[in-house]
Symmetry: C2
Subunit: 350 residues, 2 copies
DNA sequence: ATGAAAGCGCTAACAA
DNA sequence: TTGTTAGCGCTTTCAT
């Protein structure tokens, strides 16, 4: 026995003794049907468990209540939050979201866009894999709002990002305010604008305080746990280790904490750690991590809203608009940062 | 200026000087077209940047290369992993995934299913909000594979779960093997089968070792951080606190660790902690958490594969099959569990 | 206020 | 091998 087929608008019409057009009318709240007829139709719909076919409707109307979302990795908490925000707003507006991973693969990203295109999505929110992808082709077909990561340097178009520079600057100021002067940074991917900006904010903060960034205190990571661990080990092994370390993302912070544990260096007594990226568990570490919290959920919401507005406006690519909403990150001061104890640390360094 | 419309199969046909049906033929690799004609068509498709409209195709064929996925909360790492697994398999099979949150709201869950239904998805993977939802209506329309959580007690249908009982049993055995006898449990939601099974596994383990579960050592939580914290505080405040605690999910473990920190109880020296649910950060806690790791990614993959198989078979609801694939969880022994030091703890307890 | 008819972009019979 | 025709389920004029 085969699957029970869906009831169509004609089934409903027949059962209610009206024409399909009339059913369509009540379906779309046109309000030009007598109450009695409407009643009958609604009964019929219930009886047949009728659900209008979105695809047929879209085919006819040329619109589609589906948006796409492309993100690099759901397992990273920040992106998961982004996704939640998008879904929430989309749902509220009666839209569904077609999801796909871009998994750091540029070719995959292209395939994703093509797929969204094939599904005739009304638009998409995308968190780009890197800053070299061209979206021109896709953009001619449907609006895209970029979130967190811009697709090209000098991008002009709709986007929601956070002010990484300001956040890194504030983080640096916090460390300096505590009395630190020997501050190290474990930097992230420099092919991403956000990565560059975090470095820039750090630089600026140091400069304003007339503090030099020593060469050996500038370490290049790649956002992985492993790199945080390695760079951390290098920093701690220095003849004169820093008294504070600014780690440029959550994963690297994890690796760094591991390195501290291995070196049996107490945090924050001997060394302060400040993490870019907050995550739910940061508050449960010992010590609780001082971190820069990016408003992932809000970014997702804003991006979705911006997209939906553009979709509603129904304009062509030339008029998409170019607002880049820049949100602020929040510095959450907890226990991993404190006043420097230079002597203690230097005594231990070998 | 309005958005550039998509090229249709007729545009391609016209440009290539053939009929739409011929284009459709090469599009679907029917292979009954001369190479020369095929060539011309492909050129035309490229020139027009043609992408076949999935919706129109689905409307015609009655099939749809989209599956739905419903999960309670993406921000929980376990569910995010589930989602990744599903997406990965779906993509590989040329399917897209329509995502939605069920956010612990049964009504929302219904709405989600209706939405999937309206989009005529080929099937869905769902992680049910709770064990009282009826899916009969939806199931008559498309196959559903349940994952991690079953929709009703005594559910018979396709599902991928993990053997919670065995995992909890093994965890308990580990604690007992270490020499613990005063073991407490912070239980999770008992309206979910999985929650019940974890308790059952614990019971069985204790029973086999002829160990009693003291009333005051059995604490009921609700999977929230807060409840883990509260129950933890209660346990530690007991005249005779336990020497080991089995916490039934990741969030409650977080709360529990917080409670330990407040009581300044050393783990594992004074008390051992074993967590159900592993997560990436568990290995970076101090101490590193011993935990039961559920294979979230693999569960997602298996569920998607099962669903896709059922979809491919194209049978009716009566023949959907009822395999419940039960995966094993893995006990990851790290540093939060050790031999009991009863004296030390009792001395401290007031 | 309601219905008849056309057609969105595609594919599947069938005809040529 | 290729083209013609019909129709998937819906909405939208345009008559009535």
């Amino acid at each position: 026995m085969s699957r029970k087929p869906f009831a169509t608008i004609r089934d409903v019409a027949r059962l209610a003794g009206v024409s399909p057009a009339t059913v369509s009318g009540v379906l779309n709240q046109k309000g030009n049907s007598r109450a009695e007829v409407r009643e009958r139709i609604e009964q019929a719909m219930k009886a047949l468990d009728y659900h209008a076919d979105h695809m047929a409707r879209s085919l006819k109307t040329g619109s589609n209540k589906v948006i796409g979302m492309v993100i690099p990795d759901l397992r990273n908490f920040f992106f998961a939050e982004l996704m939640c925000g998008v879904e929430e707003v989309a749902r509220a507006a009666g839209f569904s979201v077609l999801f796909s991973h871009a998994n750091k693969d540029q070719q995959l990203e292209r395939a994703n866009l093509a797929m969204l295109s094939a599904h005739r999505v009304a638009g998409a929110v995308v968190c780009s894999t890197d800053a070299h992808t061209s979206y021109d082709g896709a953009l001619r077909r449907f609006p895209i709002v970029f979130v967190d990561r811009l697709p090209v340097i000098g991008f002009r178009g709709q986007a929601v990002t956070v002010d990484n520079t300001a956040a890194a600057w504030e983080a640096t100021r916090h460390l300096i305010g505590l009395g630190h002067t020997d501050i190290a940074i474990i930097a992230g991917r420099t092919d991403l604008l956000a990565g560059l900006q975090r470095i820039e904010g750090f630089r600026r903060g140091m400069q304003e305080a007339c503090l030099a960034i020593r060469d050996e205190y500038f370490r290049q990571g790649d956002y992985s746990i492993e790199s945080g661990y390695r760079r951390g080990l290098e920093l701690l092994g220095l003849p004169e280790p820093p008294t504070a370390i600014f780690s440029c993302n959550n994963n690297m912070t994890l690796g760094l904490m591991q390195a501290l544990a291995e070196y049996k260096v107490e945090c924050p007594d001997e060394i302060s750690v400040l993490s870019y990226d907050d995550f739910p568990w940061a508050a449960f570490f010992r010590p609780q991590l001082t971190a820069v919290a990016q408003p992932g959920l809000e970014m997702g919401r804003r991006a979705a809203r911006m997209l939906l507005d553009t979709v509603a406006a129904g304009k062509g690519p030339e008029e998409y608009g170019q607002e880049n909403v820049v949100l602020k990150a929040e510095l959450r001061i907890r226990q991993s940062t404190g006043r420097p104890r230079i002597a203690a640390l230097k005594g231990r360094a070998q």
